[in-house]
Amino acid sequence: MKRAGQSTETPQVGRSVPRLESWLKVTGRAEYVHNLRLPGMLYGKIFRSTLAHGRIKRIDVAAAQAVGGVHRVVTGEDIRKLIPEPYYGPAFHDQPVLALDKVRYVGEPVAVVLAADPHVAEEAAHLIVAEYEELPAVYDEVEAVSSKAIVHDALRPAGTFPDLKHLKGRTNTNVALDFRLRRGDPDGAMGNAARVFEHRFRTQQVMHTPLEPLVSVAESTESSITIHTASQSPSFVRIEIARLLGWPENRVRVRVPFLGGGFGAKLYIKLEALVSVLSLITKRPVKISLTMEEQFFTITKHASTFRIKSAVTKDGRIVARDCEVWWNGGAYADIGPRVTQKSGFTAPGPYDIDNVRIDSYALYTNLPPAGALRGFGIPQLVWAYESHTDMVARELGIDPIEFRRRNLLREGRPQATGTRMKDAALEKVLERVAALMNWNDAFDRGGGTVRRGRGIALGFKACIANTTSLAALNVNADGSCTVYTSCVDMGQASDTAMAQIAAEVLRIPTEAVTVVHSDTDVTPFDMATLGSRSLFHSGNAVKLAAEDALGKINQLRQELHLPADAAIADVFKKKYGMRAGSVMGAGNFIPPYTPPDENGQTDNATPFWMVGATGVEVEVDTETGRVRLTRLVNVADVGAPINPKIVETQLSGASIMQLGFSLFEKMQFDADGQLRNASFAEYKIPGFHDIPAEIVNEAVVAQQSTGPFGGKGVGETGTFGVSPAIANAIHDAVGVRLTSLPMTPEAVFNAISSNAGRE
């Protein structure tokens, strides 16, 4: 791929511009918080709970405090002296900055040792002793509904979400949200149906493992605090820290450079509250860098259980679907209740079904907290509904693609919420994946001990609502442009996309645009970089800001009697008699949204739909159970790609990440809730030997009518169909059905063996 020249004749949008920070990244010079050291800085090392659930009786820090070079040891009680209610969280104010009164999972932060030398801090942390009164613990999300082990004595919703208000102060429950959706008459339809199918699926707990582990630095004065943090949500961090401290927002500054990966791990508050408090207590800059091991104790992806039941007519029409989903949120809610609702309402899949019941439960358990991970719950749902859909099709003797075609949710038809589908190219995506898989051609099924199979799966997602993005933009006197946004570039190339959008509006080369990284003293509010929302929301805000500036420049052109195509630099020169001045533009984007009623019904559930399908060809070794992907096909509706090459890289990267979650990644806990594989030596992520020989990625021709230049988000789309496509292909190859992730060789081998035993 040749680097495009500086010509403005090429449209800026739709061009595969190499990411603007490429030079910085290939020379090792990109800025990460990981690199930051400040004068007088202390390093914090965290002492963690060894018990899954217990009341704190005593924390003895004397030996740690006595180690030479230790500046101070801080516990939850020290923090309570500074902040009477030191609890944070986006949905519930349930998470203490350091454990208070109770510990709720193995690995929960209990105390911090501060020292100028991180090795001293680490050594001293080993000398802390904590005594607990052990309490019964619960780990399974379905058991948590009725368990006598109660993780939180009383629920503490944050108050920002109306659908959580009824939970306030509730005791004796682990249910952190009970989302319900009702449409039509599912019971009646089930009773009258020709066939009813019911299955149960499970997904495991996994971790994002960004290669730059979570890291935050805080420096404070008596009246202000600056937090340098690897965060996807600088605006949220500012609001939440200001709330905790009782300070106005303008005294809290949050700066975010590049992120070494995010995937949902670096959202909301992670280490920011802790380093802020430690800096205020010590009056020194404080840095906490987690190790890879510690990341597993910080944030994870929800394990889940999904019971799905479908009523089908003789000719293969789904007339009712009943979905019951339990989300294992771990010890603190994080964004789990939003996953439960915002993803929960798509649980019946992209099918046109008149009668639907959804019950989706967020559960507290005594495991590390779970939050968002590249899909916000969608991959867990697609895993279940697309495995189930395939099982029903095969049971009915209908080709799996034909069965989906018959039931597909077409443009203009109402989804389970009642919202009518718009700009969701489900049909095109399904047909393209079938074509790229050569679905109607004969297929080599292998023989002997290596059997071949193929499968597809189709998923969709409603982008999260209701969220806002603002952007500002400065056109400089030489015609170059600076964009100010709190959108965070964590590797998805948002800087490049935002520059392309601004450049397209201003008719200047993308390379003439720079993007200022998030700094809440400088860049305007942006809800967060999550859920594939930024290209659409921040992109629209940048587009509005650029149009605002362009309008002002055009006005100057007119006033100065310059032609409409006069170079921007000439406009300024004529206006000021020399190179001087600048023009600012501002953009504020908030798409319309209607909150759901008590039955989950709304006429506007989402600003846009994302659609992704995956097809795979596999080889299954019947003697070892090993599954090898020989071909992986990803097809998506991304609207009109702003940067086709980067869109392809996002689709491909997301599908390979999901491949790890499908085949081998799993956090393994013992009976006492102790994690046994919190390191890359024991928790394997995909490497070169795991990727299929052939990967095909395609964005169908589509337009998001409300998106910037027809574009929309893509970061998560590649994850949707991977797991069920593989399960469907395994079934196709060897006739066994896996209903739990991951599909390890052991699981496949056991399924083959027990299947052979039955025959």
Partner: protein, 163 residues
């Protein structure tokens, strides 16, 4: 218990006071402000901390700094081509879009240079095998394979031109 070690760093003679337990990646960061080699997994499993010591790539998070006495140490910061531009491997990574968050990229660039020094015209299996000790969570693996092939082609062309 610090002692002074002397070594060559990116071609310059340098000295540093190091403690016995300090790793190479720590010393590069704290004593020399070099951040291109970075600790990630801390176990030598991911390759983010790759540093070249005496012409061999090592995991800088496991390699003790004190072992670098009199060694020739090279980091990503020295890997640039002539006149401060990008070398063919770096340029190929840019052109093939073989990076996302960039945290693992320096390690991949250094390993690719070593691969092409050993096997100038690698096939896809060679590439996968040689780079299997480097991890990319963004999973830009297909693009990295393209970048390696592109760099190999360009190095071959420039060798032929120089003949």
């Amino acid at each position: 218990m610090r002692r002074e070690i002397r070594f060559r760093l990116n071609g310059e003679h340098v000295a540093a006071q190091v403690a016995p337990h300090e790793t190479l990646v720590e010393v590069l960061r704290t004593e020399f402000g070099l951040h291109g080699a970075r600790e990630s997994c801390g176990q030598g499993m991911c390759g983010c901390c790759t540093v070249v010591v005496n012409s061999r790539a090592v995991s800088g998070c496991l390699y003790l700094a004190s072992l670098c006495e009199n060694a020739d140490v090279r980091t990503i910061e020295a890997a640039n081509g002539e006149e401060g531009g990008l070398d063919p491997v770096q340029q190929a990574f840019v052109d093939a879009g073989a990076l996302q968050c960039g945290f693992c990229t320096p390690g991949f660039v250094l390993m690719t240079r070593q691969l092409l020094d050993e096997i100038p015209d690698p096939d896809e299996d060679d590439i996968r095998h040689y780079l299997s000790g480097n991890l990319c969570r963004c999973a830009a693996y297909p693009e990295i394979i393209e970048a390696v092939k592109l760099a190999a082609r360009r190095r071959k062309t420039s060798r032929e031109e120089n003949r």
